[in-house]
């Protein structure tokens, strides 16, 4: 049976993993390669490395971090943040990424999805959508949730699928950082609108939140960043709780 995936996300800036709440009060949390290996060891189904500042100058450091992390992990490895052109994606694939996550640049120029998919396969392109609830359906935001993109989340998810995205990474800007649970309604709406898998992100605070987003939110996978810094010991502990709730997960792992 296909299991629901738990994806460990590492927020990286300047080649170091950082943790904080809603991109502020960042503190150093360690080396990306070392943390990626530790999460893989503790049962994560995939690793996502997100360059949260994505400066032009920091690109070399990011590539180096990707290369070092990729040499140590043998589970799917996604890299996102600052992918603006096909060449950005190509250099990350070269460094060992299996999938690339695109966000703002794809909204500016949607053909970027087609281009990466055509060269590296549809399964290698994840379209990340930052959405916030609004009248008439959730709106898409760019620039870390600060700027309206002028698109509705459901329309954009459908277009991303048509252009060949392999998965949608949906972050609820309403839920993000609250630790009060995923936005299950929004996740379920997007999941029903597309045939490709949907990864839920934003709001995880407890194992029960994951159970809820898998059952009610119809998520195929859920992403967690800071949850492993408080409350839940590691991915394996989280999976044991989910298995107890009847969610199919990869155990032993």
């Amino acid at each position: 049976m296909l299991t629901r995936r738990i994806i460990a996300c590492l927020d990286v800036t300047g080649g170091r993993v950082v943790k904080g709440v809603q991109f502020v009060d960042l503190i150093d949390a360690g080396d990306p390669a070392e943390l990626a290996a530790r999460h893989a060891e503790s049962g994560a189904d995939e690793i996502v490395l997100l360059d949260i500042t994505a400066t032009h100058e920091g690109r070399g450091t990011l590539i180096d971090a990707v290369r070092r992390a990729a040499s140590q992990i043998f589970i799917p490895f996604t890299v996102g943040g600052g992918v603006r052109a096909l060449e950005d994606a190509a250099s990350l694939f070269d460094a060992g990424a299996d999938k690339i996550s695109v966000n703002s640049a794809a909204l500016t120029r949607p053909a970027l999805i087609d281009e990466i998919g055509a060269r590296f396969g549809a399964q290698a392109v994840i379209v990340a959508i930052d959405a916030r609830r609004a009248d008439g359906g959730a709106d898409v935001y760019v620039n870390g949730g600060r700027t309206l993109a002028g698109r509705k989340a459901l329309d954009w998810a459908r277009e991303a699928e048509q252009r060949g995205a392999g998965e949608i990474l949906l972050t609820s800007m309403d839920a993000d950082g609250t630790r009060a649970g995923f936005d299950c309604e929004l996740t379920a709406e997007v999941s029903a609108a597309v045939q490709i898998p949907v990864i839920a992100s934003g709001g995880a605070g407890s194992a029960a939140h994951f159970t809820e987003v898998f059952k009610r939110g119809k998520a195929d996978a859920a992403l967690a960043a800071s949850i492993f810094h408080f409350g839940i010991a590691d991915v394996r502990a989280l999976k044991r709780e989910l298995a107890g709730d009847g969610i199919p997960v990869r155990l032993p792992c």
Partner: protein, 198 residues
Amino acid sequence: MIVVVDYKAGNLASVMKALVAVGADAVSTSDPEMVRGAERIILPGVGHFQATDFLCRHGLREAIGERAAAGVPFLGICVGLQWLFQGSTEAPGVAGLGIFDGLCDRFEPGQKVPHVGWNSLAVKENSRLLASLADGTFVYFTHSYRAPVSHATVAVTEYGGPFAAAVEDGNVMGVQFHPEKSGAAGLRILRNFVELPC
């Protein structure tokens, strides 16, 4: 020497990296002469079945076919497994190697496609490739087309119905999942392959 066939579909980096991790000496190439000199051949692949047309156009199909017939251990991964069949409805104009009968076909409507994530293997006991793997082992898949179950199937996975997750007939083997991305279980399978007598 293990030759990993480069047919410009997706990236080979993760397969090469996993082979290093199991202590294997591997090289990637698009040169049919190097394929002819290989002790073992791996055909990886993510992407479209159409990409296997490259194998035809560059003399690789012939080279692989010869060596596989001569008993050289061969492992196809993902599209590399599908290519062992007669073809795929994904690219009707492109013939597979045809060692196994049947056509690969898209998952039935009603399932999320691609089939992405960790799914379990129902393992047959007689597989050398999957030796020492427990029944129910989880491995990582990402694909939209799948191969039919046949006499050569050594592991079945369920996703809206059963499909061939692994095939094996003598020295010719294939896996639909990605051993290079399937953690310890995947590395075990690659180690089984590189340790086969040849």
